[in-house]
């Protein structure tokens, strides 16, 4: 159905080709997962299927890409619109109209499909994707998961034979991601649609794939094969595969169910060993239990830079106290009676579905949102009454889109601006950047950094003011496993130095690896607050894969198991 023959893509001005000599055939009715670290050209490959590369993006494409027998060289994207449906990384950038129903019909209108047929297909698609309740809603009022489903629906209505999806579940909470994947599964099974999708969060999708196409490194040839075979040697792999590699299971199980059936001997072996604390609780740290995380290397330089002596920190007073906080937006109560305490050195993960109030809570902690009731105290200060210049010395937030924080056109200028903003000694920010991102040139434009590098730069900018309380909103969006591991190492180091960290995240694996405590928000209220293991192990949607495999004992991460064996 999709055929790449010796395809190379070079963008103008770039030295090396993004893709080199790609040969890939996707037969009809298959779901193929495109995996690989970031920056290997996954998005380029996907956009080459619908002809946007090179017709829209520019650059030179060598070789031949055909879809359903149509060569993208001679067919412009609009002439492929009836065979290929494409949803990009950001569904919001995809919408042309303003209501759900119009959006579903838009593609069909362009193709000139009969009005009666359009009506029927819109109704079918509304049912298929569970959107019937939302049909008249303006798209701007939808949640992330709903938007993603509308975006998929809008390319489904013209009945394309190929569906191309770029990170369809990255921005979604676990439940919404399941919803979207269930829909894809149904399309492949019932309608015989061919699906090609890229995704960083392999733990969510790899079990649905018929085959995996792996781009191991930039310019490297594609490795295609059954998921279990490819995952056994892939540089990116979900935790369940990590556990399998550790335990030496062959072939590699991809689902929690398969892994559980194999895990009986491992569970027995682990039955007697005490479960090590994943991250040492603040100031009771048994250092041996730290596992193999990257916290140790990050601690040295950062501690020096931040001039913070770990021994001097433990004062019992919490960094952050939130009592009965209420926030209203118009008539809607975004937060209601929220209590939260964060001690120095403690890492707290805020979880909950899209729209549960996580970002609002973080906003209230840095004074962007005024409380309607209750109190917020950061180091004794009320954030919304504190001048921004003063507040950044006490609490720093890395927003969901780290790019918003960056306003200069080179890394060096960004660092100078950060020093000036924070009133820090010239060069402090640059030193932090060098510690977090060893090989970034001064003259690089922040836009040309990868997602992970941009996040690190934003983190350095925030840390320049040396706030003891660090807040991160959805930090792992768009990060591959390597970037995530680096981030986890850095954050662990910061916590060890006495920073209080609050991170709002959908990423259960990250929470399991980093957090001492997990707070679950639902509908603006705290529904669970406790040590990570207690909260997540019993929850079907918030439990990490290792916990599901090794339940009922609270093992959370591969690193823990590795340390115990």
């Amino acid at each position: 159905m999709i055929r790449f023959e010796n395809v190379s893509v070079v963008y103008e001005g770039a030295g090396a080709p993004v893709l080199r000599g790609v040969d890939l055939t996707v037969p009809e009715g298959e779901l193929v997962l495109l995996a690989g670290p970031s920056g290997v050209g996954k998005s380029t490959l996907l956009n080459a299927v619908c002809g946007l590369v090179p017709h829209f993006t520019g650059g030179t494409l060598r070789g031949r890409v055909t879809v359903d027998g149509r060569d993208t060289r001679t067919h412009r994207p609009r002439e492929l619109a009836d065979v290929v449906g494409t949803v990009g990384q950001d569904p919001s950038a995809h919408f042309v109209t303003d209501t759900v129903e119009d959006e579903l019909a838009y593609g069909m209108e362009s193709l000139g499909i009969e009005p009666q047929v359009m009506r029927r297909r819109v109704e079918e698609t509304l049912d298929l994707l569970g959107l019937a309740e939302l049909r008249d809603r303006p798209i701007a009022t939808l949640s992330g998961g709903q938007r993603q489903r509308v975006a998929i629906g809008s390319v489904l209505t013209p009945h394309p034979r190929v569906l191309v999806l770029d990170e369809p579940t990255s921005a979604l909470d676990p439940a919404a991601a399941e919803e979207v994947l269930a829909v894809l599964q149904r399309l492949v099974h019932d309608l015989g649609t061919t699906v090609l999708m890229a995704e960083h969060r392999l733990e969510r999708v790899v079990q649905y794939a018929d085959r995996v196409a792996l781009l191991p490194a930039p310019g490297a040839p594609v490795v295609v094969g059954p998921p279990a075979e490819v995952m056994a040697h892939s540089p990116v792999y979900p935790p369940v595969v990590g556990l399998a590699r550790l335990a030496g299971w062959e072939p590699v199980p991809l689902t929690v169910r398969d892994a559980r059936r194999r895990a009986a001997p491992l569970r027995e072996r682990l039955a007697d060993s005490p479960v090590p604390v994943p991250v040492p609780a603040p100031f009771s740290a048994p250092v041996a239990a730290q596992g193999s995380g990257g916290g140790v290397p990050a601690r040295g330089p950062l501690a020096r830079l931040l001039r913070r002596n770990p021994a001097s920190v433990p004062d019992a007073a919490p960094l952050l106290t939130v009592e009965r906080l209420a926030v209203r937006r118009g008539r809607v109560e975004a937060l209601r009676a929220v209590d939260l305490r964060v001690a120095p050195g403690e890492t707290v993960a805020l979880m909950g579905r899209n729209g549960a109030g996580k970002s609002t809570l973080l906003g209230a902690l840095v004074g962007m949102v005024e409380p309607a009731g209750g109190t917020v105290r950061v180091h004794g200060l009320e954030p919304h009454r504190t001048a921004p210049k003063e507040l950044i010395r006490h609490a720093g937030l890395v927003p969901q889109e780290p790019r918003d924080l960056l306003c200069s056109d080179t890394v060096a200028a960004e660092c100078r601006a950060a020093d000036a903003d924070a009133g820090a000694a010239p060069g402090s920010c640059r030193e932090l950047v060098s510690a977090l991102l060893p090989d970034v040139a001064d003259a690089t434009h922040p836009r040309d950094l990868s997602e992970g590098q941009r996040l690190a730069l934003a983190l350095a900018v925030v840390l320049t003011a040396r706030p003891p309380l660090l807040l991160l909103d959805e930090p792992t969006r768009g990060l591959d496993y390597a970037a995530k591991a680096r981030l986890a190492g850095v954050l662990r180091g910061l916590a060890a130095e006495g920073h209080g960290i609050v991170l709002a995240t959908h990423d259960v694996e990250l929470a399991a690896e980093l957090a001492h405590r997990v707070v679950i928000l639902a509908d603006g209220e705290v529904v669970a607050d406790g040590p990570t293991a207690d909260v997540v192990v019993s929850s079907p949607s918030f439990a990490p894969q290792v916990a599901k495999v090794l339940a009922p004992r609270p093992w959370l991460t591969v690193a823990q198991v590795e340390a115990a064996l």
Binding site: G51, V122, V462
Partner: protein, 386 residues
Amino acid sequence: MRLRAPEARRSNALHAGAWWLWALGLAVAASRTTNPLLLGLLVAVSGYVVAARRTDAPWARAYGAFVKLGLAVLLLRLVFSVLLGSPIPGSHVLVTLPEVPLPDWARGIRLGGRVTAEQLVFALYDGARLAALLICVGAANALANPARLLKSLPGALYEAGVAGVVAMTFAPTLVADVLRLRTARRLRGRSTGGVRAVLQVGLPVLEGALERSVAVAASMDARGFGRTAPVPAAVRRLTAVLTLGGLFAVVIGVYGLLTAGGTGGEAGIGYGLPCAAAGTALALAGLRLGGRRSVRTRYRPDRWGVRAWLVAGSGLLVAALVLALDSPALHPGVVPLEAPGLPLWPALAVLPGLLPAFVAPVPGQPAAPVRVPRNPVRASEKEAVG
């Protein structure tokens, strides 16, 4: 029971054009009078209909904005009248401002000087008329979905319509961008006010808008926007000839009509009218033929049903009646000052404008889950508003 207006759904949605005709009818009526009581009645009629039939969509908030704009215009008119004086002769001097002496060449312009009650009342009437006009237009904006109005354009103008729709969905995201970047400034410890802040936020916002427009363009292309049907070369050429020829004829015709009053005399009218009419017909034929190139179909277009006729007709009826009932009472005098009276027949003529509040479909409850308010008084308020 059968006559009660149904709950609004997509299938019985009132044609956006009907709302616009209704509002334009009221606006025409407003433009024909300076009687403040009558103008107030017109604004009240439009306000009542908006309150009864407005949805909670973003554009529905336009009415409040237009009311504020109208009041601002009224105020501005008064301020100008006070500062610049007025040709209205008056004997009731309220206050005398210091007059700024102006050089000879600026004769006829006055800055400061006497302020009379007559000139203020005149400015008030005049400003009220403008404000009422604006508020009527605001009512149309609040009641009609602008995207649906653009969708009713003929096929050949479809591209322009889509551009309009995309631009409209763009404005709210631009506002959201500004807010996001301002909060980001706060996170860096910078102040969010002042000219520098605006400049520093402006550039990234424009950059973001540009990036987003490229993304939307890519998405539209990938979803088949701009696909064209193969049209024989002869038809294409005929389309071009018809459209261009038609526009040319319209230009000649309008020239003839405009010069008719002056030197051209009767001859101007003689060729002007037929030329303009023929040109319009040719251009329309060209547009219709041009529509053949577009393959696109329409999903659930708004139908022009009985209710649309009633709504549009009620507005046009108001306009027609006020035009027909032209009387001195519509223009209360200011010299000498007199209290304006409410003329009975024109006032009754405005009332048909209320019809849409009874025949247009009632907007349903919002689909979004509404939390139960804890305060029972609030709940009853809400029902009254909804």
